[in-house]
């Protein structure tokens, strides 16, 4: 069985992003550090667990982006993935999910993956689309928000639970090939072991250049970025820590909470 895990690199903390007023764009700051999208860590872990349960499973990890994303592909190798693939794009800015999905689909088409895993959502663009788009392009079935996954013996199908509102679960069985988007909490992602870290260091990443310009024009354009809507902003309590604590206690007392 061949598994492809899609991993995205995101900023570690959103408070390092800067809003460039003149261009109307959001840019990475000088302090921005990058890491693997958290939900994708659960996807990598789940692929590795399948490989541990079933013989003859190979796990590839792919990421789309500029050279910095190689670090995130390496992280997947350090966790234990067998092979890393970098689809290199020239631009530093984020592609839209469909462009990303087309790039991954053109890789996946020739390689006969049985299972493609992604995280349920990317923390940066929050689109939750690449998995479903890939399934649509490749003609695979798809299930999202997977919180339980079972496969036995020589599997023809996978038993799944998807998480829906209020923590309820939808139970289903899917045949292959399929795309699953993995919800956090399905497992506990492992820390890379030293032996895997050493192996990953010597492992070559497969490099695929994304065609430029993209073969098909994007279906939507980002006009601009905006700051969050100014709601009815609450009051930020100011003063020394002691003054803030005193004020908060008096507010709680006014509301008869203490």
């Amino acid at each position: 069985m061949k598994i492809l895990v899609c991993v995205k690199q995101v900023y570690d903390s959103p408070d390092t992003l800067v809003f460039n007023e003149s261009s109307g764009r959001v840019e990475f700051g000088s302090h921005t550090v990058f890491r693997m999208n958290r939900y994708d860590e659960y996807a990598v872990e789940e692929a590795l667990r399948i490989r541990e349960r079933i013989t003859g499973v190979a796990v590839d990890a792919v990421s789309v982006g500029p050279d910095r994303v190689r670090k995130t592909i390496r992280r997947a190798l350090e966790m234990g993935a067998d092979h890393g693939i970098h689809i290199r794009t020239g631009c530093e800015t984020d592609l839209d999910p469909l462009e990303r999905a087309h790039l991954i689909a053109s890789l996946a088409r020739g390689r006969r993956y049985d299972l493609i895993l992604t995280g349920v959502m990317a923390e940066d663009d929050m689109q939750s689309q690449v998995g479903g788009l890939l399934a649509g392009i490749l003609g695979f079935t798809c299930a999202t928000g997977i919180i339980s996954l079972e496969m036995h013996g020589n599997p023809r199908e996978i038993l799944l639970e998807r998480e829906i509102e209020g923590g309820r679960r939808e139970c289903l069985t899917l045949g292959f090939p399929c795309v699953l988007t993995i919800q956090s909490g399905i497992n506990t992602p492992r820390y890379p072991s030293l032996s895997h870290v050493l192996r990953a260091r010597s492992e070559e990443l497969e490099l695929i250049e994304a065609p430029s310009p993209a073969p098909s024009p994007p279906l939507l354009s980002v006009k601009r970025f905006l700051l969050p809507e100014e709601g009815e902003k609450g009051e930020i309590i100011t003063g020394t820590p002691g003054e803030k604590a005193a004020r908060l206690l008096s507010i709680l007392r006014e509301h008869s909470l203490l």
């Binding site: 909490g185 206690l249 709680l252």
Partner: protein, 326 residues
């Protein structure tokens, strides 16, 4: 207003229309087309009452796609049925509630009908749609460059219209073609994590990843201890780390609470968390980051390190009240 053909896909469960369907219909009418059609998919027995209820409440034309393959929700069946229905209709905007089910089939559907896909829409401009990005720090305004689009509409972002203004809409039932599915649905399971203590509590003190470590949970416990009838809540992030059991999780995929006081400690304020606590009577947030989204939900915000501030607050309370006097 875009003035194009527009379809609103209704979602339902156990014979009940999801409220988000009405919000999505209101969004569609306001920003996409004056007279969208509502499309509902279900098995033969259920389709007429569902379609009837939708037509009564929205006043819009309702098309019921009826067949055994959509008796239960199934992404594969929904996608294929909607693609074959929509392909005959030409260019259209399709609006779907951004719920766990809506987002489960929206992207595939967009590929199938050659549309762009915009998820979690929470606002609109002139032919543009607005959604949150970068952990809710910013919003982006995007414009479809195709004559067809699939939009998923954020729950709670738009108010449903009050009753049909023009009397009930008409209903048309269209039978669906059956086909072999690779998916087998096996029903739903109730949440294992429902927590009565949380829903009954008058004060919920909630922990976020900003706690930094499981050991710091004692700070939250200490703070919770000064209130009678209090309980401890958490973000999904904290439960994923194993610091607290999932029964403490608050948000879309956890518990929903509306206590008299909600104290958010080290919580960034992601929409999925906020939707589970925003109806609390008084919301106070403690966070080191002055730009954290939670301060847009909170009535009172305190920009401090919780590791310093909570002990200070509790000490000050005890000095005034004497230990254990709560």
């Amino acid at each position: 207003m875009i003035e194009t053909r527009c379809y609103v896909i209704a979602l339902h469960d156990n014979g009940r229309v999801a409220e988000e369907t009405y919000e999505t219909a209101a969004f569609a009418r306001r920003y996409v087309a004056a007279d969208p059609c509502v499309v509902v998919l279900s098995g033969g027995g259920e389709i007429e009452p569902l379609a009837g209820r939708l037509a009564d409440r929205t006043g819009l034309t309702v098309i019921g796609l009826a067949g055994d393959i959509v008796r239960e929700y199934c992404a594969e069946a929904y996608t294929a049925s909607l693609i074959s229905f929509l392909r005959k209709k030409g260019n259209a905007f399709v609006c779907i509630p951004h719920t766990a089910r809506g987002i489960d089939f929206a992207p595939q559907l967009s590929v199938g009908i050659g549309a762009c896909c915009i998820t979690a829409v929470e606002g609109a401009g002139e032919g543009t749609f607005i959604r949150s990005v970068y952990s809710g720090r910013f919003r982006s305004e995007v414009r479809p460059e195709t004559p067809s689009a699939v939009l998923t509409v954020m729950p709670g972002a738009f108010k449903p219209e009050k009753g049909a203004m023009q009397g009930p809409g008409s209903v048309k039932i269209v039978p669906l073609r059956a086909f072999e599915l690779s998916t087998k649905t096996r029903g739903t399971r109730e949440a294992v994590h429902a927590n009565m203590t949380l829903s009954r509590a008058e004060v919920v003190v909630s922990a976020g990843r900003g706690l930094g470590s499981a050991e710091n949970l004692r700070l939250v416990e200490m703070l919770s201890g000064i209130f009678p009838k209090s309980a401890i809540g958490a973000t999904r992030g904290v439960c994923d780390l194993g610091w607290l059991d999932y029964s403490h999780q608050i948000g879309t995929t956890g518990n929903t609470v509306a206590p008299r006081l909600y104290l958010a400690c080290g919580i960034s304020g992601a929409v999925q968390h906020v939707s589970g606590m925003k109806n609390s009577q008084l919301i106070v947030a403690i966070n080191t980051d002055p730009d954290a989204s939670i301060f847009r939900t909170a009535h009172f915000g305190i920009v401090e390190d919780l590791k310093v501030f909570i002990p200070l607050l509790v000490d000050m309370y005890r000095e005034k009240h004497g230990d254990g006097d709560a």
